[in-house]
Structures are given as structure tokens and as C-alpha cells.
Amino acid sequence: MKGTQHIKRTKKFVRIIFVFGVAILWFNSPAYAYINPGIGSILSQILLGGLVGLVIVLKLYWAQVKKVFLNPFSKNRDRGNKDK
């Protein structure tokens, strides 16, 4: 049971990363402007876009990592709750 949950979670992550990757890199957006936005500014926004995506993905991973570390405690807590 636990194993299937883990696989489901992993699949979910892969999907999220994939969606973000696609979102950052592949959508069509014919932006237009009469001013010159400047390549420097666009490149840093591409970078920022990637970073913000990365931070969100890392945050999700971090929750998992934290869970692994907190696992023994959370088990204890669970038992405690059950005892009650």
C-alpha cells in the first residue's frame, strides 16, 4: 500500500517538473512592443522564470525530504494519537 503511494507521489513530481519545464520553455507567445525590451532584460527574465520554477519544485521536494527526516517522530505521533 505504502509502495503504491510512493510511486504515485513520484509520478506526480515528474508531472509537475515536466509541466514547469514546458511552461518555461515551450509555449507560444507572440509578444510585441514598440520599445526595445533589450536582450539583457529578456535573458535575465528567462533565468528568473527558470529559477522561480526551480524554487517551487525544490519546495515540493523539501516537503518530502522533511517528511523522511521527521518520519520516526511522525510515526510516534501517529501511535500516540491512536493510543488516545
Partner: protein
């Protein structure tokens, strides 16, 4: 106000142009922008911003009103007229900050309605009193899913970098900005920044990286990026995050030089006793009450004491001018706190803002913009006559040219302030006497009333131009 006809400053954006007709301000909407104009209109954003006074009020009028001159325009809108057009190089630090925050606020609110701003020009912000107001209705257009913030570079050059040079180095933006009308480039700013500043996250991502990328981008890289650019996307969440973090950052910016200046304490340290001050205020107040001017220019406005007196006496709007940054900042905060229809601006009176920009017609000089009904020049003329060697006849001629009526204060050589100014220099001002001052003034204007208002012999003179 501006000259009649096509506004020479509105050439950049093909969306439309600005026309002045009989003192009224019109904006055309060309076919290029009509779809966006209609979309923005349908979202209700404009009414929302107008209601809160964040955007200039406008109404649609019959295009025939402008005749053949605007052939091809789909719509014509008429804008509310503003009392005075000012430029970012005349704004104080808190004014530029308020304008920046308004730009970000409008950009954020627009995004929530599927709209974005096509540029980030600081000249699209004006002031009514200390309140910034957005004036370019046609910069608002449909947001395309995933598009980049195309105004980021312009925002940094015209808002952020000028604020940073003051908040990091204590250098006021005004002179630099006036020389570089498009703002302070990130490249220039990066050249000044110490390493530890360059590496702070916000400066790194908004200033340093764009400047470095811009500089290092080879022709090949630009060509390659241009190919894939259309396929790339900035997620809306990131776009919003960039705007929100800039808003947060700019809200907390303060000038680095927070000490007192010569003039910021003037209201407490000037050479008047409180009784004398009462006389001076009464004189100004009487002048305003009898003349009933609508727009007053206050030269040497300092922290806004006499602007406040004039407003109390019934003036509708006061534009103040001073060259002391601290005094301007105090004046601006005061106008905000007391909700005064008063806008204090930076001016070095010996070098007023000129006609400049494209064809020297884009940004107007002070004289052609200031159409004041009256001026106040209190404790002002000696700074030019003695401090800057401006000959009295020329000085008075300039002052009288600014408005048909006014009050000027003459500060004699016996006054401690003038004595202080002459402490370390030869007195080459044989001409600088009350008698000469009055006779020069009389050759240009009718002197209506004078009164000595201090024990040191300072005299207020009320005049009307001949």
C-alpha cells in the same frame, strides 16, 4: 501649458498621439491599437483606476472635433487637464518613489484583468499635488499568456536605478537624469557598484545580470535567442513575483544621506522672530485673498510654509521649486500628510530645465510649462543675485516673465544671511541695494504694496507686471 496642435513628445508609440486644441488635451487611438483599446475598456479597469485617482480621467469624444488632422483615428478621447506637467528629473526622491510604486501597482492590477503595460516610461506618470497619476491610457493593452515584462529594462532605467543612486550613494538623480532623458542605464550603475552590492539578489537580478547579458550578448547569441524567443514564456506567477518584489523593495528605499541639510531646518532656524513671521504670512495671505490666483509658483519653496499659507488663503494649486533635496523631501511628505495641492520640484533657478529631447521639443523648458497666475519669491533673490552673480535687472526680468503678479522679498546686505554669503568673498555687488532693486522692479512692474517684515530690513514687495 503646452503649445497648440500635435504634442511633439507623443511620437514613440504608434497607438495614438496627443493633441492640444483650445487648451484641451486629446488623444487619438489609431487602428493599430483599437482592438486593445476596446478590450481594456471592456474590463472595467479604467473606471476602477479613475475612481481611485490613479489614472487621468478621460472621456470618448467625436473624432470630428480634431478635424482632418487626425485622419485614420478610430477613437478620440479627451483627458482631464492637469495643473502642471513635471518631469522625473524635477521630482524629489519620494516623488520618484511614489511614481515607481504607482507604475508597479497599475501593472499588477492590469495583469489581474488580462492587461499589461506596453512600456515603463516615467514620463507617463504626472502629479496632482503629491499624488502620482498615470497619464498614458494607450500603454494599457492585452496581456498575452506567457509574455515577458517588456518594460523591465525601461523600468530599471527610468525608476529603479535613479532611486538606487540616491539610496546607495546619496547622489540625487536629478542632474544625471536631466542629462540622460531616458534614465540611468544599468550598465552605468553597475560600473559604480561595489562587489558586495552587486551580489545582493535584487540588484543582481534586476540590474547586474541584465547589464552583463546585454553587454556580453554576441550577435550569434542575439540571433539564436531571437529565434527561440517567441517560443519562450515567462509564467504569469513569475511576472507577478518580479513586480511584487520590486514593489516591496522600492517601498523600503531611503536616501543614503539622511542627515540635515542647510535648508531642511530653515523653518526652525531662519532669521525671523515669530512675530515677524506672522507679518510675512499675513502679507502673503492678503495678497492671495485679494488677487485670487488659481495657480501659484513658489520659488525657493523650502519646506512649503508659504505654499501652505497660499493654499489656506484660497489658491487652488501651488508648484514649489527648490534646489535643496532635504527641504524638497520634507515638503513632499508634508504635502502628502496634510493633503495639500502642492507639488515641490527640484529647480536650480540659475539653470532651469530647458527645451530638450528629440528636436528640442520633446520635453519643455520651465518657462513654457509654468503658466502661473502669480509667483512667490520669498527669501529667494539674494541666492541668485549674490550667490550666483546674476545681475539684478536680468534676475527681475526673469521673475516678472514667469507670472503677471507676485510677491518678491528683498533681503538687504545688512541681513545675517547675506552677510554670511559674503563672508569669504569680495563684495562685488555695488548694485545690490534696496533702492536699485525697487527702481529696476518699477521699470517692469507696478509696485502695489511694500512692507518691511523683519528687524534686519527684509522687505516684501507686491507687484503687477506692466
Amino acid at each position: 501649458m503646452f503649445e497648440e496642435g500635435l504634442d511633439p513628445a507623443s511620437y514613440r508609440d504608434p497607438s495614438g498621439r496627443v493633441y492640444i486644441r483650445d487648451g484641451r488635451v486629446f488623444r487619438t487611438v489609431m487602428p493599430y491599437a483599437s482592438g486593445d483599446f476596446e478590450y481594456v475598456q471592456s474590463t472595467g479597469l479604467i473606471e476602477e483606476l479613475e475612481k481611485e485617482g490613479l489614472i487621468v480621467e478621460s472621456k470618448q469624444v467625436d473624432p470630428a472635433i480634431l478635424g482632418d488632422e487626425i485622419a485614420g483615428a478610430c477613437y478620440v478621447i479627451e483627458h482631464q487637464r492637469l495643473p502642471f506637467i513635471s518631469y522625473p528629473y524635477e521630482w524629489s526622491f519620494p516623488a520618484l518613489k511614489a511614481a515607481s510604486l504607482l507604475h508597479l501597482e497599475i501593472q499588477l492590477r492590469s495583469l489581474a484583468k488580462g492587461i499589461t503595460l506596453s512600456d515603463a516610461s516615467a514620463y507617463n506618470v504626472q502629479f496632482v499635488g503629491p499624488k502620482p497619476i498615470f497619464i498614458d491610457r494607450l500603454s494599457l493593452r492585452r496581456y498575452q499568456e506567457g509574455e515577458f515584462w517588456l518594460g523591465h529594462k525601461q523600468f530599471c532605467e527610468q525608476f529603479l536605478n535613479p532611486l538606487l543612486i540616491r539610496s546607495i550613494f546619496g547622489i540625487p538623480h536629478n542632474s544625471w537624469y536631466r542629462g540622460a532623458l531616458e534614465g540611468i542605464t544599468s550598465d552605468d550603475l553597475v560600473g559604480l557598484l561595489p562587489w558586495r552590492r552587486k551580489l545582493t539578489w535584487k540588484i543582481l537580478t534586476n540590474v547586474v545580470l541584465p547589464a552583463v547579458f546585454q553587454k556580453k550578448a554576441t550577435k550569434e547569441l542575439v540571433a539564436e535567442q531571437a529565434k527561440s524567443y517567441k517560443n519562450r514564456k515567462l509564467p504569469l506567477i513569475t511576472f507577478r513575483r518580479i513586480l511584487e518584489s520590486l514593489k516591496e523593495w522600492i517601498s523600503g528605499l531611503k536616501p543614503a544621506d539622511t542627515g540635515k541639510s542647510v535648508w531642511s531646518d530653515y523653518a526652525k532656524t531662519h532669521s525671523y522672530s515669530s512675530e515677524e513671521l506672522g507679518h510675512k504670512r499675513k502679507f502673503v495671505s492678503n495678497f492671495i485673498e485679494s488677487l485670487k490666483p488659481k495657480l501659484v509658483g513658489d520659488l525657493g519653496s523650502n519646506t512649503g510654509d508659504y505654499a501652505a499659507v497660499a493654499l489656506m488663503a484660497g489658491v487652488e494649486y501651488v508648484v514649489g521649486f527648490d534646489y535643496d533635496q532635504k527641504a524638497l523631501e520634507i515638503a513632499f511628505s508634508r504635502a502628502q500628510e496634510e493633503r495639500l495641492q502642492y507639488l515641490p520640484l527640484y529647480l536650480d533657478a540659475a539653470n532651469p530645465a530647458p527645451d530638450q529631447g528629440w528636436a528640442q521639443r520633446e520635453r519643455k523648458g520651465l518657462n513654457s510649462r509654468l503658466t502661473a497666475d502669480a509667483i512667490l519669491a520669498l527669501a529667494f533673490t539674494h541666492h541668485l543675485a549674490i550667490g550666483r552673480n546674476i545681475p539684478l535687472p536680468e534676475l527681475l526680468n526673469w521673475l516678472i516673465s514667469l507670472a503677471p503678479h507676485g510677491v518678491i522679498e528683498f533681503v538687504p546686505k545688512s541681513d545675517p544671511m547675506v552677510k554670511h554669503m559674503l563672508n569669504f568673498r569680495e563684495d562685488i555687488f555695488q548694485d545690490y541695494t534696496e533702492e536699485r532693486f525697487l527702481s529696476y522692479l518699477e521699470s517692469l512692474a507696478n509696485i502695489l504694496e511694500t512692507e518691511v517684515v523683519s528687524s534686519t530690513g527684509r522687505r516684501l514687495i507686491r507687484y503687477s507686471r506692466r
